[in-house]
Subunit: 427 residues, 2 copies
């Protein structure tokens, strides 16, 4: 008996899923005794369905899938928290298993979705919501569960990692590399979700929830993006023995969960420093396993469809064998979120200031006023003749004090020419 | 109701498992609703059990576990294919689930073990048999199953990777670094299984079987170790832009499965080139997911126990929920093993020959005789005054012809002073 699939969303990833089913359906039957059948596809564009040879399964109304009692499993691939929320919750309530790639939905409504799935006795799976094709949610929910996980570090946004790699390797300016990423289709016309870190923040919220057995939502994540990063920052970091990555960070601390996204210096010798271009990686540390890393392609039709269809086959196995959901929500603990203000680390801060005598001393005084001890200050020219870069490296300092420094500097008349660049160090 | 565990083997990994159960039993109950109870431990050394506070559970006769109808699951950690074979098969026949870290057993008797488990309706799990704590078998059996896997490359022996790293970074000679690895406990007194590649061969047999859905056994793997590798080889490779790793290789080719273990040059830019010291990594390429890598600690009490206990918890979940085995043997295809003779690649070959005029021309002639085209030949001094290194880099050549070259050279009187070093290139 086949497991019948309703697919909502026939864009890049949805197309990839259709391709996999068409190419490997017989393999899946032979290898795993599971027969998956695409029963219905839904999107706003019939042409996409037709292009994959499934125009005859097309509907533009997702209720045709929800209300079809033959359909066992719904794949949601339209993204966002609007219609997607309705599709996922209605499908679950209708007793259908759901597989989704929707990070924004899981990072904001995860608790509700797990509750509805639990009440309906069906499965919700979302491997593709983090790290594209990289198996990470499944290992965290299965292979690694004998561990107390102490940290999860992720390079989970391919767009910004590509941009940082290009700036580092080729010295391209931020605007130039953003334009290139947009031209190549790596970045959206509105790049906010990527470059301001919100995409990565949703992903670390999901990973931290699973790794620490405690619900973390998007709003819990302190988030800074890469808009203020320029080649000079990457070059300076390199000279110091560091690579700069937009790192999504989750730490289990005695006082709770520390969770944040920001440009971060990591030692060149660290495995994550070699994760370049559009590749993603997630670095997990546990009390038994020690250090482990999961690396792969974080986006694109193939990788994301690989993760979606891995989930689909797993659920289909359970359906075929008549097995009820095995793993539901594992957020049984209620750990507090540690305020970012409490963070203690070293900071790289670059200011663009007027090129005049005394400006360095003046800025240094602000750091001293807030008890931030400096390890070094370097003055470097900019392309503007009347402005210079002041690059400060601090000793270990408290986030709260750094924010006070930055607020004071911003309030000073005729001081900051552009927003400061702040890069935290993760050793 | 608790799931009762019988543990056979209380050495390093067994001790790690006892520690995890003692430390996290309450966490497992709270997070996953699974209560695991250590009911019996078996080994030849009661002192080990006592050292972990479980002397009261000790027996020296594994039949006390097999015959105990209260025990649901047996962990086998004694290794080898003798008594371990009896323990695993008898436990399965007695209707007990089995978790093992035994690569040699799974790589030689895997088919039989799967058949017995299937007949008895119980689970056999063996994540810890490859890559220590790295989740790799589970991802291959679950997350990645929507892919046709085209290759699996593994750095799966920490001892030899440590030795190669030390030779590369510190220029230490083979004998010196082996002695150091033995002193540090990374290498056994008899290092054969590690340095001759048999440990890695068992692991790639297991990985290839799962990845390609076709049974590969230890004897199918063409295996060469690192005994003939010296710092000069690593230095030459580095100058050419390569790192040398003992790579376990499985490729799905149109004509069958190509599976082998040997010292291998991989480009410095490849992610695997940065896997150093005792770390392991497995690099998997699939038709949808593209390239993905799993990295972590390949040995030691914690990592191996993490993998064993991950399997135990997974099986315990199923026992608790009354779920029958979900995934059994997936080797449904019968793909042939491609003979190593058919391999076509580039070769690095270093000969130690007498330092006399004409020896280079004489050796080069042997290559020409067997149609092996040379890209470069370099002559370098050795520490012996009357011997020199001849380093040949070939264009793409056929393994069969290379073997003919080496046989001819070995047969020549007064030519080879030591066994040649052969390193294949994987681009």
């Amino acid at each position: 008996m086949s497991v019948k699939i309703g697919l909502v969303g026939t864009g890049t990833v949805g197309g990839g899923c259709i391709d996999i089913i068409q190419k490997h359906r017989e393999d899946f039957k032979r290898h795993f005794g599971v027969d998956i059948e695409l029963a219905r596809v839904c999107s706003l564009d019939k042409g996409e369905a037709e292009a994959h040879g499934v125009g005859h399964l097309f509907t533009s109304d997702f209720h045709d899938i929800i209300n079809d009692s033959d359909i066992d499993l719904v794949i949601e691939l339209i993204g966002g928290t609007g219609v997607a929320h309705a599709i996922v919750t209605e499908a679950l309530k209708a007793g259908k298993h759901v597989v989704t790639a929707n990070k924004a939905l899981m990072a904001t409504a995860g608790e509700e979705i797990f509750r509805i799935a639990d009440e309906a006795g069906v499965e919700i799976a979302f491997e593709a919501s983090v790290g594209g094709g990289i198996p990470i949610i499944d290992p965290l929910k299965h292979s690694l569960i004998s561990n107390e996980i102490s940290s999860v570090l992720g390079i989970v946004n391919g767009t910004t990692n590509y941009m940082l790699t290009r700036m580092d390797e080729d010295g391209m300016a931020y605007d130039q590399v953003l334009a290139e990423a947009q031209a190549k289709g790596f970045a959206e016309a509105d790049p906010t979700a990527d470059v301001d870190g919100f995409d990565a923040a949703a992903k670390i919220a999901i990973l931290a929830s699973i790794a620490f057995n405690s619900r973390v939502v998007l709003d819990d994540v302190s988030t800074e993006g890469i808009r203020n990063v320029q080649p000079i920052d990457l070059k300076t970091a390199r000279d110091m023995g560091y690579a700069v990555k937009l790192l999504a960070i989750g730490h289990r601390l005695p006082e709770g969960i520390d969770v944040r996204v920001h440009p971060t210096m990591i030692p060149k010798t660290h495995q994550m420093a070699h994760v370049n271009g559009v590749f993603n990686a997630i670095y997990v540390t546990g009390d038994a396993v020690g250090e482990t890393m999961f690396f792969g392609e974080g986006a694109g039709a193939g990788p994301a469809a690989s993760a979606v269809m891995g989930d689909v086959l797993e659920v289909a196995r359970h359906i075929t064998l008549g097995i009820k959901p095995i793993v539901g929500c594992t957020c049984t603990d209620k750990l507090p979120i540690v305020p970012m203000d409490n963070l203690e680390t070293r900071y790289y801060i670059r200011l663009v200031v007027p090129d005049r005598t005394g400006v360095l001393a003046c800025a240094a005084e602000v750091f001293a006023k807030h008890d931030v001890s400096l390890r070094s200050v370097v003055q470097e020219g900019t392309r503007e003749r009347d402005a210079v870069n002041l690059i400060f490296i601090t000793h270990t300092a408290r986030e709260k004090n750094i924010r006070a420094v930055l607020a004071d500097l911003a309030a000073m008349e005729d001081m900051l020419q552009v927003e400061p660049t702040v890069i935290r160090v993760e050793d």
